[in-house]
């Protein structure tokens, strides 16, 4: 499997039956393809709906329904629409079980940077600052390095999206979790050694592999 597929499949293992989850655009959303058939989860789209949805086709397209990335989608039966105030009450009021977001940088204090590269990239934070402060669990899904440069750092260098907000980091190399505010390496991907992941992870962490 390619890195992104490995990550998406691992993210999907975090979903539990009945979870209410917001997935960021791009890599986080790929996890939808790997949701176990034994569970049902509700997805939340910050522009104002929840449930399960599919990409629209020529026959069922409704110009009034796009996902948070602007793609035309069709909400399956059982889904619900709401306005942006309600949408962000759900996010900010602690009603989301989980959010999965991408990152430019994460650090050993649980800080996240994913909205701005000064002088280069100015997309804006969208709903990310709300999500990291409001969701019960914040999972970062990202490739381990950017052009060979590590992204799990001792300290973020880019403007922060949130301070001490990250609960878990899933990359193609392994899984890190914050336990009692300390970063722990809890899983190594197949074929990855402790030495290899250490070489690409400047952050300090405790090795505490599960099973």
């Amino acid at each position: 499997m390619e890195a992104k597929q490995i990550i998406a499949a691992r993210v999907a293992q975090e979903f539990k039956n009945g979870d209410f989850v917001n997935l960021g655009i791009g890599l986080p959303t790929l996890a939808v393809d790997y949701i176990s058939k034994d569970i049902h989860i509700n997805l939340h789209s910050e522009n104002g709906f929840a449930g399960v949805w599919d990409k629209a086709n020529e026959d069922n397209i409704d110009k009034d329904v796009v996902d948070a990335g602007g793609t035309n989608v069709v909400l399956q039966k059982g889904g619900i629409f709401f306005d942006s105030v309600t949408s962000f009450e759900i996010i900010r009021g602690g009603h989301l079980d989980m959010t999965v977001l991408g990152a430019l940088e994460v650090d050993e204090e649980g800080n996240l940077a994913n909205w701005k590269i000064p002088g280069k990239l100015l997309p804006g934070m969208g709903g990310a600052m709300d999500l990291v402060n409001g969701a019960k669990k914040v999972i970062i899904s990202m490739v381990h390095t950017a052009r060979g440069n590590p992204k799990i750092l001792k300290k973020c260098t880019l403007p922060l999206t949130g301070k001490g907000v990250v609960d878990m980091i899933i990359t193609e190399m392994g899984v890190f979790e914050f336990i009692n505010n300390k970063l722990h390496l809890t899983q190594l991907s197949k074929g990855v050694s402790l030495e290899e992941i250490k070489a690409l992870t400047p952050a300090s962490y405790i090795v505490a592999l599960k099973d």
Binding site: S45, E46, N47, G48, F49, D62, K63, D64, V65, V66, A68, G69, G70, L75, F81, F82, D83, S84, V85, S87, F88, I91, R92, N111, W115, L122, P123, G124, M125, G126, G127, A128, M129, D130, N133, G134, P159, L160, T161, G162, K163, G164
Partner: protein, 215 residues
Amino acid sequence: MEKQIQIHQISEFLKDGMTIAIGGFMGCGNAHNIIDEILKSNVKNLTLIATDTARDGYGIGRLIDDRRITKLLASHIGTNKETQKQVIEGFIDLELVPQGTLAERIRASAAGLGGVLTQTGLGTEVQDGKEVITIDGKDYILELPIKIDLAFILAQKADEAGNLIFNGATRNFNVPMAGAAKVTIAEVEEIVKNGELDPNFIHTPFIYINHIIKA
């Protein structure tokens, strides 16, 4: 002026330098016909409140393309390269606002609140220059209401009084913007007689709506 007006009357409401709000998300739920009318007018130097600027050549993005906007409060401009370009060259003065904070600052204006307290943005640039208030041992940023002169929203259906029903995901920022501005104008696909809408399923009450336009 009548509650129901014609699309060409939009120009009568526009003034250089005013603050306008336009509902929608990535162009979905933008009042596209009203945007056409704004472009036909000569109005300039506008402050725009919108969660995003859609993309080049589409929806709100067209107001950016035509350089009508000189100040922008938005949560996301990543989908519109032209917006980013005009921000970098200094034509647009941009304030990026977290999306939920933007919704609440607009709602605060509609609800007559003096501000809202939120943890969103704590420890980030968003906190800079703002008051932090501690309640029950937790810190919150004080975010102030956004004052809006004119809001343009899109709904599917209105009655003659201005009660509104939305379709699909278009409620987004259209709902909180109604009532948050001195004047709110709704573009709708259909206008029915009073009493024809089921009062159980009205999304936005008429009192927030100054004018409706069938377009």
